[in-house]
């Protein structure tokens, strides 16, 4: 590259006693950082403050129907619980993990262990991964409806009078989310694979192991924390996403828990949306709304926190290795 280094018009580097500009610049940027952190703290504190009193064991472990099978008022803080939503969210995330982790890890293995970093195929795969990460979540919802439900589900229903597969279901919601979180898993796994010193691979190869053996027995066990991070990040991200499951599986209300992959499900994030926009009496719903948000935040933020901690360890190791 022959482009010249950036040369600002005038460099004035004389030092003075008290450098006001330096003080102001550090102050302004530091305050901006502090402001962002303050907003995060306010959101969490606000939710904890208002949600804590309703957030009880009873709230987390009761469903939406009474013992006799009568539907409860989901907007009433005294009787409603979120157990079916927690189960629904957990199930869809679990099914998603089964699909996204193997594909993501294998892609990352290809990108780090096999691909030429300058080859066109590699560039295109990387571009696709980055692009997939930026597709709006609502477009994933449309894709799930158009591809999984109408195209694949419709094809599986061929010859059936009533749609069995070709309707919103927990399976389709999970698959849609798996497509959405694929880049997260790929990027996290790749980072941890790159953190492994080349010496380790070379030693294994020098001892006569084949490339596949090296990957399976040396590289992957070493990269396990990173793969775990990717999985956790994907779960944390998908756990809170609502837009992709709006048309692919989430239900406003269901009497029973999902039993088959073709059942719909109630979802924690979607429930937050319902409680905040559909309630006939927002004042009465407020306690349960905050408590539901608290449950969702606890789920996603704790997962993110774990991922951040594991990743910090991986990065430390990477620095030590090189």
């Amino acid at each position: 590259m022959n482009s010249s280094p950036p040369q600002p018009a005038r460099l004035d580097f004389r030092s003075r006693g008290f450098d006001f500009a330096s003080f102001a610049f550090t102050g302004v940027t530091g305050l901006a950082t502090l402001f962002i952190l303050a907003i995060l703290a306010i959101i969490i504190a606000n939710v904890v403050w208002h949600g804590w009193s309703t957030f009880s064991w009873r709230f987390l472990t009761t469903g939406m129907t009474t013992d006799t099978g009568v539907a409860k008022d989901m907007f009433n803080a005294e009787e409603a619980g979120v157990l079916p939503m927690i189960i629904g969210t957990a199930l869809r995330v679990l099914v998603m993990t089964l699909f996204v982790v193997p594909i993501g890890v294998i892609t990352a293995i290809y990108l780090t262990e096999y691909a030429h970093s300058t080859a066109l195929t590699t560039r295109i795969i990387r571009g696709a991964v980055n692009n997939l990460a930026g597709v709006p979540s609502i477009v994933f919802g449309l894709f799930g409806l158009g591809f999984f439900i109408s195209f694949i589900g419709g094809a599986m229903d061929a010859g059936r009078a009533e749609p069995h597969w070709g309707k919103p279901a927990i399976l389709w919601a999970s698959l849609t989310l798996a497509v959405m979180t694929l880049p997260l898993v790929i990027v996290a796994t790749e980072e941890s694979l790159r953190a492994i010193t080349p010496g380790l691979r070379e030693a294994s190869l020098a001892l006569g192991a084949t490339k596949l053996e090296t990957i399976l027995k040396i590289v992957l066990p070493e990269a396990l924390p990173g793969i775990l991070t990717g999985g956790i990040l994907a779960v944390g991200r998908a756990g809170g996403e609502v837009a992709p499951i709006l048309f692919t599986g989430a239900a406003y209300y269901m009497r029973d828990l999902p039993k088959a992959p073709t059942d719909q499900f109630m979802d924690l994030g979607y429930h937050v949306f319902i409680l905040s926009t559909q309630s006939p009496d927002i004042e009465k719903t407020r306690p349960i709304l905050f408590a539901t948000v608290l449950a969702l935040l606890l789920l996603t933020l704790s997962l993110n926190l774990i991922a951040v901690l594991v990743r910090a360890r991986v990065r430390k190791k990477m620095r030590a290795g090189h």
Binding site: T33, I36, L40, G127, I138, V242, Y270, L296
Partner: protein, 394 residues
């Protein structure tokens, strides 16, 4: 491995086709399998576009007619048409058309004739509102106020699909979000990457990135329940939910995106740049502002571009905090409805395969194209910047 010739391929040959390799069919198969799986990401981007666009295709090709009174032809005229034209007239898919016998087709023609008899007779009844000129052009509708010439109103007798209110709604919230988040995020990125101590950085970076772990439905909830009331109290505007509130809440979702990319770009500027400046007597902020920032400028720009993509594609925040009235207005303090929120709110009610359903897929496909281009641009800029910065030091 040791005997491998110099020009040996990186790949393992099938049954030792390359001389010097042992026969390792398992390795060969595994490598091919891994390669094929890694193409999933490409396949998915491709499938997303194809299947979203596929649902919108009849609309783009002008095959849909949303007119309240559709043109009707008599039975004799219908029989004289070619099969392809008959299918087009009845708006059937080829598969549906094949499945029907002559009687079924005739009964459909009857239904169309009856419909035509009962159809309203005003001037807009025959208008096909899914034509491009009604999507983007102004039209004075007979059943709405004369000043509402740009309307998105997919219910009622005439389904009006003018896209301008939605486009402007999306752009308004996005503009507020970017104006709010970009200065904050870039300032924070400069502080974290250039000015803070390494120990502090270890804490600050993950803490800010934790903001991206807050689900967008929670940000929407926060905007709707907490911020809307607070901001109305401070600024004292009329409508409680509007583009401004939604934009600020949306900004919270954009901050982590812009921050991490800008921070990444600033960090990838070689330390030698800063060290040279410091050695010449510059203060830390002068090095950051006059040396590092200009060098990383394309990356910071990429961060803004990708932040734009995130903001325009965000759904739940806008759906919950913007008020969702599709008003054609440039004021930030009017209730607005974005493209994403429209899809989320209306798709469940749209008739499967109908013009409203396809219209929502059409705006979804447009959104996909916009974010695809912004992502591509951001990705290319970052790639070139990193290549330049790394190439120079080596």
């Amino acid at each position: 491995m040791t005997n491998a010739p110099h020009n040996a391929k990186r790949t393992v040959g099938w049954m030792g086709i390359h001389r010097g390799h042992k026969a390792r069919p398992a390795e060969w198969l595994a490598e091919k399998f891994i390669f094929l799986v890694s193409l999933t990401a490409i396949l998915m981007v491709f499938l997303i576009f194809v299947f979203v666009a596929r649902e919108a295709l009849p609309l783009v090709l002008g095959r849909m007619n949303s007119a309240a009174a559709r043109p009707a032809i008599s039975m004799a005229e219908f029989d004289q048409l070619k099969p392809a034209d008959q299918q087009l007239y009845l708006e059937l898919t080829p598969a549906e058309f094949k499945r029907m016998d002559k009687e079924a087709l005739h009964s459909l023609v009857e239904v169309r004739l009856e419909e035509a008899k009962e159809a309203p007779k005003d001037k807009d009844a025959k208008v096909n509102t899914t034509e491009w000129r009604y999507l983007f052009g102004a039209h004075e509708w007979s059943d709405s106020r004369p000043e509402d010439r740009y309307v998105w109103q997919p219910i009622g007798r005439i389904h009006k699909y003018n896209l301008w209110p939605l486009i402007i709604g999306s752009l308004k919230t996005t503009a507020v979000a970017l104006l709010f988040s970009v200065p904050l995020a870039i300032a924070a990125a400069i502080y974290v990457s250039q000015l803070s101590s390494p120990t502090l950085k270890e804490w600050l970076k993950p803490a800010i990135e934790l903001l991206s772990g807050v689900p967008s439905v929670v940000l929407g909830f926060f905007g709707l329940i907490v911020m809307a009331t607070f901001l109305q109290g401070v600024f004292g505007y009329q409508s409680r939910l509007n583009a401004f509130v939604a934009g600020i809440a949306l900004g919270l979702a954009v901050i982590p995106v812009v921050f991490s990319i800008a921070e990444d770009a600033l960090t990838s500027v070689p330390r030698s740049y800063t060290q040279a400046a410091l050695a010449l007597g510059a203060s830390k902020w002068q090095a950051a502002w006059q040396i590092v920032l200009p060098a990383a400028a394309p990356g910071v720009f990429a961060a803004v571009v990708l932040g734009f993509g995130r903001a325009i594609g965000e759904t739940m925040v806008v759906l919950m905090a913007s008020g969702n009235a599709s008003i054609m207005s440039l004021s930030l303090f009017d209730s607005t409805r974005s493209i994403t929120a429209t899809i989320a709110a209306e798709l469940a009610e749209a008739v499967f395969g109908g013009h409203h359903y396809r219209m929502l897929f059409l705006i979804g496909a447009m959104l996909f194209i916009v974010t695809f281009l912004t992502n591509l641009a951001g990705d290319l800029i970052m790639h070139r910047l990193k290549g330049r910065l790394e190439g120079r030091t080596k």
